[in-house]
């Protein structure tokens, strides 16, 4: 079954082709791109469209590769030994499967999302090489060998904070999500706000792209910020006319808090708009 845009999620042709290839060839798909281009969202939508379970493994700076496989809960075992519980004799009672294990043994082919892999230590991707390649690993405590019944669909996202090792990249498919163009963005906005006035949308988009073109911004506003902003505009009952005036006269933008997240950016934008 081919993955494509849904009622609530717009996907570009190239991205759809990438996802379909990764699903067919059973390779992990690595997604990079500006924050707010829908990397994480993609995995959810893919799971929905395939009617599969989504297993989300969010990576933090302290996450270890081992945690994705399993964890051995020594504390409960010690406690149970004090309480004289019978469970204590079987070590497998204290082995907690991680997300990778869960995805290997799921009855139906699931979607496994490894979110923001670049947050972890620089060696983290290397520690997962074998597991992602062979889709199998060994549990030392019990001597078990876990092998994937069917290879899960693996989606990996990265914000480019750290460079990833070559050996890891070789085993993935890679797609760089570009920031959507005006047309696509209008489509996305319409999906989220079906009753939005077309005029307001056009004005808002124009202002939005003007903002993004200002050089030297610390954090360019992205799709999610645009959506928040439109939501606020609607809630505050601001109409297209007001936006148009603001754009032409360079007066203060309404509700910029939703778009600009850095004080320096707010200053910069005000300065640039005053000059124009």
């Amino acid at each position: 079954m081919a993955f494509s845009s849904t009622d609530s999620y717009i996907v570009s042709d190239q991205l759809a082709a990438a996802v379909n290839a990764a699903v067919t060839l059973e390779k992990p798909l690595l997604l990079k791109g500006e924050p707010g281009t829908g990397k994480t969202r993609l995995a959810q939508e893919l799971a929905d469209s395939l009617d599969a379970d989504l297993l989300q493994w969010s990576i933090k700076s302290t996450t270890k590769a081992q945690q994705g496989l399993y964890e051995y809960d020594a504390v409960s075992r010690l406690r149970d030994s004090q309480l004289g519980s019978d469970k204590v004799h079987d070590i497998s009672n204290y082995i907690k499967p991680g997300k990778l294990w869960q995805s290997f043994t799921a009855s139906k082919r699931p979607v496994l999302l490894i979110d923001e892999i670049d947050k972890a230590d620089i060696e983290f991707p290397n520690d997962l090489l074998h597991e992602l390649d062979q889709m199998a690993f060994h549990v030392y405590e019990t001597g078990e060998h876990i092998e994937a019944q069917q290879r899960p669909i693996v989606i990996i996202t990265s914000n480019n904070e750290k460079a990833l090792p070559d050996a890891f990249l070789r085993r993935c498919f890679f797609h760089f999500i570009q920031f959507p163009d005006e047309q696509t963005l209008a489509q996305i906005a319409q999906v989220h706000f079906p009753n939005l006035q077309p005029q307001l949308l056009t004005e808002a988009l124009e202002l939005f792209f003007d903002l993004r073109q200002i050089p030297g911004m610390k954090k360019k506003p992205s799709t999610s910020e645009l959506l928040d902003w439109i939501r606020l505009l609607v809630a505050e009952d601001i109409d297209a006319e007001q936006l148009r005036q603001s754009r032409q006269q360079g007066s203060a933008l309404p509700l910029t808090g939703a778009l600009l997240k850095h004080e320096q950016d707010v200053e910069l934008v005000e300065r640039v708009r005053r000059v124009n």
């Binding site: 042709d13 190239q14 082709a17 990438a18 379909n20 290839a21 990764a22 067919t24 060839l25 390779k27 690595l30 990079k32 302290t62 020594a74 504390v75 010690l78 406690r79 030994s81 004090q82 620089i122 904070e161 750290k162 460079a163 990833l164 090792p165 070559d166 990249l169 070789r170 085993r171 993935c172 498919f173 890679f174 797609h175 760089f176 570009q178």
Partner: protein, 389 residues
């Protein structure tokens, strides 16, 4: 299969490997794409390129490959109706109107075929032959409104030809973009782990001991997590001759920032004097006295100076030698003061080592550093980490 394409990619500097190559062949054999050059472009990029900064090179290689393929004699191999259908699909009504300038579409195609047969080699410019950049109605990037474009489409169509010819990723292309990771790996050598912060980790050994002491009653012991405790004071030379090395220095800085939590950065120009600054935009207004920097940071900080050390010898040795201001004390005095406090120090020089001998100032600085100057290369960085470990 497609070996030429593979070699073309590698010659354009897209370092794709055999493994990835076989993946692509598998994708083709499983009919993930079939007879669609747009999709072939996306899929081959997906499988063969793993870094967006290489997308532009891939686009160039792909364009060249497609051009070569296009030079195969198409008149014999492509049935006429393929071309016609493809063309009709791509032309809007408006464009079809324009085509009429040259007569009907059929007529255009007919003369296209005739000329294809007449023409023996690749052609560029001119007003009759099929090729690129000319005013003939046939070819690419031409100015004839009623022309047939081959290979390159101008606008609007969702065509791969458009995509790779647009070269949208030009800005992302940087040479040797993978340096950052190798720097990071080299810097790991410096790591020193220490346990700081709130105890959140189970200390198994401690728990065993404590439990035994309690006569078997469980007594949990906790310890704090291990963190990299190395502290770095980084002095960066900016401006002037350092402009040539900005990229390298940026890579180093990114790698340092990723690796060390305690990283203090100050800038100087050519040689450190009595003032340093934290923000290069406000260097005139917000200087920090070097004395204060020496006081602020403990001697457990490791000092890394990055500069090309290329200047007039008087900038190091004489009062008032600075090119920017009047300095009461010569640069060497300040450098010595810094080195006295921060005994673990190294000077990284982005200039290739073979040029060092030509500059008197490089030799002077290296002497002041007691030989602890290293080139800003992977090897040099490794040696540097050994020096300040």
């Amino acid at each position: 299969m497609l070996i030429e394409f593979f070699q073309l990619l590698r010659s354009h500097g897209v370092k794709t490997t055999i493994t990835e190559w076989l993946d692509l062949l598998e994708a083709l054999s499983r009919r993930v794409v079939f007879a669609d050059v747009d999709e072939f472009y996306y899929i081959s990029r997906l499988i063969l390129v793993k870094d967006e900064s290489l997308y532009d090179r891939f686009d160039r290689a792909f364009s060249e490959y497609v051009e070569r393929v296009a030079q195969v004699d198409v008149t014999e191999k492509i049935p006429a109706d393929w071309l016609e259908n493809a063309l009709k699909r791509e032309l809007s009504d408006e464009e079809k109107e324009k085509v009429k300038q040259l007569g009907s579409l059929d007529e255009l195609l007919k003369s296209f075929h005739e000329r294809l047969q007449e023409q023996q080699e690749r052609h560029q410019g001119g007003s009759k032959w099929i090729g690129t950049g000319g005013t003939s109605p046939y070819g690419a990037y031409g100015y004839h409104p009623g022309g047939i474009r081959i290979g390159q489409q101008g606008n609007r169509n969702r065509s791969a030809a458009k995509v790779w010819d647009k070269r949208e990723f030009r800005d992302l292309d940087e040479d040797a973009s993978l340096e950052q990771r190798s720097y990071q790996i080299a810097l790991r050598n410096l790591r020193q782990f220490a346990r700081t912060g709130a105890p959140t980790e189970l200390d198994i050994e401690g728990t065993l001991k404590a439990t035994a002491r309690q006569g078997g009653l469980l007594d949990l012991q906790w310890q704090s997590e291990r963190h990299n405790a190395v502290k770095i004071l980084l002095l960066l030379d900016v401006g002037g001759s350092m402009d040539d090395h900005i990229y390298q220095v940026q890579q180093l800085f990114t790698a340092l920032k990723g690796e060390f939590r305690h990283l203090e950065l100050y800038y100087f120009h050519n040689c450190p004097y009595e003032g340093l600054w934290r923000s290069n935009q406000r260097r005139r207004t917000e200087q920090v006295p070097t004395e204060q920097v020496i006081q602020t940071y403990g001697d457990d900080y490791k000092l890394i100076v990055v500069g090309d050390a290329t200047m007039g010898p008087y900038e190091i040795a004489y009062p008032g030698g600075s090119v920017e201001h009047w300095n009461e004390e010569p640069g060497e005095v300040w450098l010595k003061r810094l080195l006295k406090k921060f005994t673990k120090a190294v000077w990284l020089n982005p200039q290739p080592e073979r040029y060092w001998g030509y500059y008197h100032s490089v030799r002077m600085i290296n002497q002041l550093m007691q030989g602890r100057m290293q080139p800003l290369t992977l090897n040099g960085l490794q040696q540097a980490t050994d020096t300040i470990k």
